[in-house]
Symmetry: C2
């Protein structure tokens, strides 16, 4: 996972400058020197190259304390376009974003449902062509397409390892199949991770923040951004918050463990409880139990409108999310956390309040620093927007972007027998 390493030609420094312009811009060269610790000539050289490549632009001047005014730099929002696809059972969403995370175009489509993966991918390819044509982009502007899917992911992010929401997709080579059908490089990524990077990117969060996002779709996940890059772990499956056990005597989860957040308090669990709760009989739940997001939205709306049974269910779920958020915060020492995902479109504020209360009173590092907790500005599309950001980051700031990790080519041998513990 050599995500953030540099060569002597220093793409790491280029990525650092791009990322600081993203989070601080408009910003002057002098401020970049201060923020990076790089020398003034080094910053000037990198900035000149980025201006030549049209990745950044000069956007005016700021008064200087003596001497000539300092010219300000910002990301060139017109440079390139990234495309993100959020793929779920109930819906598929295409978005195109500019390099600061602004949405240029959006298209909602029917979900994967029970259709065979081959048919869904052909539909995705056709929809992609129609989406690009309708949006009027020059195809040369499009740096890549990232498909955000529920995890866990297969090795090398070729597809889905096993997702309860999309059971037929295990072993299907989603990335390669779609890549062969469209004329832009395709990546596959975890929806929660994509959403985390997208929130980090479009909010202008500082790379010195330890930033997390909890993503609530049909399933539950999380992503953490470290040093400006999505943290991936050994197999791009870090952040599986839905499988944090909160109760060892709780119900059995698909993962094999008991009392996981997802099986205890995720949208599917809340909808399932509602179906068995006589107090919720008056709500109009759908006939198909797999329309989890639709039904969860209905229950959330009722809870907010004061329906006691619905409110009890949603509050209990929010309490459990707060407990899991505390674990995530204590293990990563987060200083900023965003809640997002389509399930939080209606009830997000309630979940945020519970999470914030628990972190304020029990996060272990609370006396060292606060943890800022927010709701996404666009919980419905955040995985799609984040997926587009991943495509853009890979193109604009390749030094720490989401390059596919080819672990097979990495030297894997350790010295000697680890049980002998080296030369002690």
């Amino acid at each position: 996972m050599a995500r953030r390493e540099s060569t002597p030609e220093a793409p790491g420094s280029r990525a650092l400058i791009v990322d600081l312009v993203r989070s601080l811009g408009p910003v002057s060269r002098v401020e970049l020197v201060e923020a990076t610790g790089l020398t003034q000539p080094a910053v000037s050289m990198i900035v000149r190259k980025l201006l030549d490549d049209a990745v950044i632009v000069e956007v005016g001047s700021a008064p200087s304390s003596g001497g000539k005014p300092r010219r300000l730099l910002d990301i060139n929002e017109r440079a390139v376009v990234g495309v993100g696809v959020q793929m779920g059972f109930e819906s598929v969403t295409f978005v195109a974003t500019n390099p600061s995370g602004g949405v240029l175009a959006r298209q909602g489509l029917p979900g994967a449902q029970d259709d065979p993966p081959e048919a869904v991918v052909r539909r995705l390819a056709d929809s992609y062509q129609a989406f690009i044509a309708a949006s009027g982009f020059d195809v040369r502007e499009i740096v890549g397409v990232t498909v955000a899917v529920p995890g866990p992911l297969a090795p090398d992010r070729e597809g889905i390892l096993e997702a309860p929401a999309l059971p037929g997709w295990t072993g299907f080579a989603l990335r390669a199949e779609l890549d062969s059908l469209i004329d832009a490089p395709v990546l596959v990524d975890n929806d929660a991770g994509a959403a985390a990077l997208g929130e980090f990117w479009s909010r202008g969060v500082s790379r010195y923040s330890t930033f997390g996002a909890i993503y609530v779709g049909t399933g539950v996940g999380a992503g953490v951004v470290i040093d400006g890059a999505l943290f991936r772990g050994a197999s791009s499956n870090a952040g599986e918050l839905g499988h944090v056990s909160l109760d060892p005597t709780g119900p059995l989860c698909v993962c094999g463990n008991r009392g996981c957040l997802e099986v205890l308090a995720g949208p599917r669990a809340v909808v399932s409880s509602a179906r068995n709760d006589p107090r919720i009989g008056d709500l109009a739940l759908s006939d198909d139990p797999r329309h989890v997001l639709l039904d969860f939205e209905e229950i959330s709306r009722a809870a907010i409108a004061g329906h006691q049974g619905a409110s009890d269910l949603v509050t209990l779920s929010a309490d459990r999310f707060a407990a899991a958020a505390l674990t995530l915060t204590n293990l990563f020492d987060l200083d900023q956390l965003v809640l997002t995902g389509p399930a939080l479109l209606v009830s997000g504020a309630l979940y945020v309040r519970h999470v914030r209360d628990v972190l304020q009173s029990t996060a272990l590092a609370r006396r060292a620093h606060p943890v800022i907790v927010d709701i996404s500005a666009n919980p419905l599309d955040s995985a799609a927007i984040g997926a587009a950001s991943l495509a853009l980051q890979r193109s604009l700031a390749p030094g720490h972007g989401p390059a596919i990790t080819d672990t097979s080519s990495r030297p894997q041998h350790a010295k000697g027998d680890p049980h002998l513990a080296g030369r002690r």
Copy 2:
């Protein structure tokens, strides 16, 4: 936290080469070119500089497929010495290690007990001088001293924020006080984090591994090594595994939460249960309830010898450690985990077995990759050895070392109001 960033002068590349020689050595220049993706001239230039600085040495030749034999490089174990101090209530341990983690000298001392921090620090300074003198090191070889303490840590790692095991130390400027008394640079770090880096370093673990360590002293913590550097989070307080809640209805923990691993199953909890368990009345527990490690060792010994009451207590504890290890693994997507810490000196194998079983059957990414679970070769001293490794890493591979994070000087402003979510 710009731990792994590079300047155009590329200390990031230097750190990368040092770290690869550490984990792969003896290794040839050709293998370093393959492993890094750096150009052959770049690797040659960095290697030449590292040879000049005596950080690495040539250790012989390997046959080559045609052409002249390839000379092999390894870390120069005689270059420098790092000193680690493991500070606890019951004991203090000094170790000096060479750059591959080999222990050159060790000294055990009485613990901090209830003595005032000022007195303990004077004792540490005196002991340090005596330790160095007795070991016969040239003081010019000593690159630094790292003191490993129970966390959480105070901002900028100046001391302890609040540790139940050392209650009088909150607010005491441990780093500055000791630094003023001895003639080597002093750092303070979390014992669990130090142990993680030490295990990573001395086992020759690949930097492409996502490596975790669970540390069991009087309290419980964890550390994760990412891209060859200890992951710190926002305030160097990442990895607080002792405060992962496993049971929302469990006993109240000092952190304010309920049912945390530490209060439910840590050594203090096990000893406390044993004191109240009539079946354990035959064991010789100490008079002072704060001698947790001594008593836990007694109980562990009895459990392994077949004492039913003791075995039940330790097994229950190990089950809960396995549940917490699963959460750590699912959130960081670990592929390697080591159990260590003085409390595991006797019962380590039992804990490892429980953790391994649970990870094999329920880790979410188990179908993508295995998780290797091991016991430390030296659980008693691993925080001290790791602390020495932190001092060495900072000196030898500063590009990703544990530099003090001066967050106050970092630009903290984000663009606009985060609630407006940028330019969407």
